[in-house]
Symmetry: C2
Subunit: 591 residues, 2 copies
Amino acid sequence: MLTRVRAYLSAERADAIIVPSNDPHFGEYVQKHFCIRALLSGFDGSAGTLVITLSEAALWTDSRYFIQAEEQLSGTGIHLMKMGVDGVPDIVSWLNERIDSGGTVLLDGALFSAAEYVSYRKSLNARVVGIADPFDTILPEREPLYFRPVILHEETYSGLSVTAKRKMIFAGDRTDLRICRILTRCDDIMWLCNIRGSDVDYNPVALSYALLFRDKILLFACKEAFEEPALKYLVSQQVEILPYNSFYDVCEKLASDDSIHFLSPASSTSMRLESIFADVKHFGYETRTEGEVAYRKSIKNSVELEGFRKANLLDGIAWCRILKYIEDNIASGTLNEHSIAQQLVAYRSASPDYSGESFEPIVAFNANAASAHYSAGSDEEAAVVTAQGFLLIDTGAHYPFGTTDTTRTIPLSELTSTQIADYTAVLKGMIELSMATFVKGTTGYQLDILARQPLISRGRLFFHGTGHGIGHYLCVHEGPQSIRMDRDSGVALLPGMVQSNEPALYIEGEYGIRTENVLVVEHFTENEFGTFYRFETLTLVPIATSCIDREQLGDKCVEWLNNYHKRVYKKIAPHLRDEEAIWLKNKCRPI
Amino acid sequence: MLTRVRAYLSAERADAIIVPSNDPHFGEYVQKHFCIRALLSGFDGSAGTLVITLSEAALWTDSRYFIQAEEQLSGTGIHLMKMGVDGVPDIVSWLNERIDSGGTVLLDGALFSAAEYVSYRKSLNARVVGIADPFDTILPEREPLYFRPVILHEETYSGLSVTAKRKMIFAGDRTDLRICRILTRCDDIMWLCNIRGSDVDYNPVALSYALLFRDKILLFACKEAFEEPALKYLVSQQVEILPYNSFYDVCEKLASDDSIHFLSPASSTSMRLESIFADVKHFGYETRTEGEVAYRKSIKNSVELEGFRKANLLDGIAWCRILKYIEDNIASGTLNEHSIAQQLVAYRSASPDYSGESFEPIVAFNANAASAHYSAGSDEEAAVVTAQGFLLIDTGAHYPFGTTDTTRTIPLSELTSTQIADYTAVLKGMIELSMATFVKGTTGYQLDILARQPLISRGRLFFHGTGHGIGHYLCVHEGPQSIRMDRDSGVALLPGMVQSNEPALYIEGEYGIRTENVLVVEHFTENEFGTFYRFETLTLVPIATSCIDREQLGDKCVEWLNNYHKRVYKKIAPHLRDEEAIWLKNKCRPI
């Protein structure tokens, strides 16, 4: 296949092509059709960039994938470039060593943000040329694009009509301007149009683009895939469906209409889009980096929040069953990481509303949990789980009324004092953040220290974010807000925003601990000092108490934990069988 | 005087002039010579901007000064513009209503930053013209500039020679470039040259500019004011003294030298300076907003830190005496806010090293303390202090080896449960921040929530910063680091940085509570998770414990407080008379 790519490069008088991992919608999951990098290289990890020149090829990936990439690239002639390792050049240096200013580097303009393109153009010696996806011809064996059924997301779930959402989104704009918002992120479009699909894994979205006007929406998608109720609803809401592939053509046509003011989110404007609007008088970025739609989507309404509560109740029931199941069967030697994940799915499936996992379940035993995103794909790969150390379970589910994301770390045996102190520090951080109060205008960046302080005071730290936004029967990782120490989203946490709270600790080769609840921002009080917010906890899953150092946790956190367990028991117990309820009562005993 | 200014405007064919409060060194205190706004308007508050047109005049100031400005402007014909009050136009709108694009607005280019100038130029309809200070001619009654003695700041205090500091400052620069750093902030120059002056109130600085090269320093100051040891030392350190007034001329001359790369801090480059270098090929801003000198100055070396510890010991002794004095005399009815401040100065003066107050002492009784910067200037103005409510004392001193800044709030009677809860919340915030641990790279913006959380959880808040940097026998308010919720300095807290920790609460018309210690960042630990820091507390003044809600404070904070008092007693008691030591022992009893 590389030979065919090189023949294409020669025909185009180009010297190299950069092939990234993402699709033109910049989502977390990508349909096989767009996985050209995996097809060409054999490396199918989620992150990696392939660069092919006329005589060489190299693949850049991060430390999570070093081992997998080494195996999968072996024999392909593609060099593995381990990002972050000393002496490994980045793509720009590598290309600059090989191709001078007379050369040409190609990239699919729809797969690179305008900012990335500018950065390549500035730093590469060669000329950078944006092209349209050339692989239908070069790689006829590529997977065809598919469009699965698109369903109506009833207003009883979404809480708002499409018309009402349109109004809300344009509420802050000048009414004398004809504004057109350009949408390329599928989850923004699903939320806006009250529809859901299943064109990629785990994220219930349909591949789509949209142009959003004050009075109508042009939706670019596969009309044939839409179920009848969705079609009827969209017509009633002034949504017109146009072919998925006609998006760029329609953009080009509309671009020449001087009366339209175009707005696109800075974070998801591709080079291809930007070049279409390059000479357009009234084209600009949205005030908010992620765009107004993503921002409105992040502030859940009361119907959506009720749905989240219901989803967490159903999920809490399934979680109680899996926790009890592990306890009952741990001694048997029959449990493995994969079978536990399967069993949890089985418990969840007992609810007719269960609509799939919200991400690949993580069940990780001891040292396996030290990789933050470890996941055993089969019984063969999976470690047998015995009564020894910690088991980390991080899973979530979709329900039409909400999405869940919960992590629990379960002690399977007596633990060392270090393990107890580490477990307690992670839990204390989770609780301190749960108890936080803050003034209007505060961002997650300012609160993050609350979750990390108990770990840092022990000279320990985790290197991922503390919290991500969570979609409403949409992407389990959603912006624009976040709770992180490494960058400030600049987005203040507002009532209705739902996000995870997941401090953690990973001791390489030994164990991983993570405790994750989901929080929604709620109003606390308003007075002469300002407007104050706090969090409501949505998750209803017991937290292991047998390995807590009570003194280290501290009175206030102990009080929080006891109240939390009281609430978990009260909400979940009525839905359990008697022996399950007795088990839960024991798990929820105050400490 | 306004008439003469208007005659000047007419002569210059200009329509207005903007007169700010600062001097060309952008420091906190301004010599009378530069107080043209006060001279012209009669309003002598520390913050205010006067705008004079051919027919009108108006003065903008903030809420701290509304009452004072109203009184002082009465009868002058100058309109008071209350900033932040609804309907009050800002300077730009006010000027735009009066002067159109044919008009001209003047401002002294040395008193406005380049950024402010650009902002005026963009938003004002009129042409904006930068001028040199015109008031020597217009206002012959203006106070003359004075230059007080400049003393050597011995290396036994500063810990580093000027030569060593020069080396340190250029350590990160390309050695093949001839770099010249432009310095206009007096405290940067005092630190760099190991000298001190007293040309303004409270900040021990001499009016000066400097041009800093790798191999020498051109110091623009009044040579006649330098004491002999200082002169001799500066010669030995390749510091050449040129006349204060020749600074801009020398800049202009050097600007034409193409071999020099000029660097100026973005935060203190005046419009006048920028215009001198406007066409210079090699002129740019320092990488750090406040400049490399301010950054290096903020990281105190071990000699400076030992000095800070000694200064806080001496100051702690004086504080113990004033606290005991108040306790002994409160019933007499003879104490007032001003007399207490005077008495504290008297106690401090007992040390031969005492070198003056580091800012105007704040002694504020009950409701007076609700204004964050209240200060009674005389016995007449001052409230009599009786055994009722709270007394807030915020003062600091200079010693040649360090500067102090301490606030204590003293309960003078039985307090209400609300007062106790408020006092405890402020103290808890101070302690939580004191106990903070953090990873390398963390800024004060990320830690601020720790100090505010106990107040916010009660729906209360204070509106100033939590912490400011503190100079070493220099400005008590020093950058570039800070601990604030409203803006991120972007400067990570590093070992050696000294800053205040002063959460507070102000209940208008009732009381103000502030508890302030000074902290220095120290190394905590380094391991596979990273490099971690924590704080050492420098302040050694007992904190009132009689009004603490022990349960609200929590075990960890109680433990911190008891350890703190143990240390205060151990350090201070040996320097006290017997009955004072007994008093202190009682104050430092564990709770």
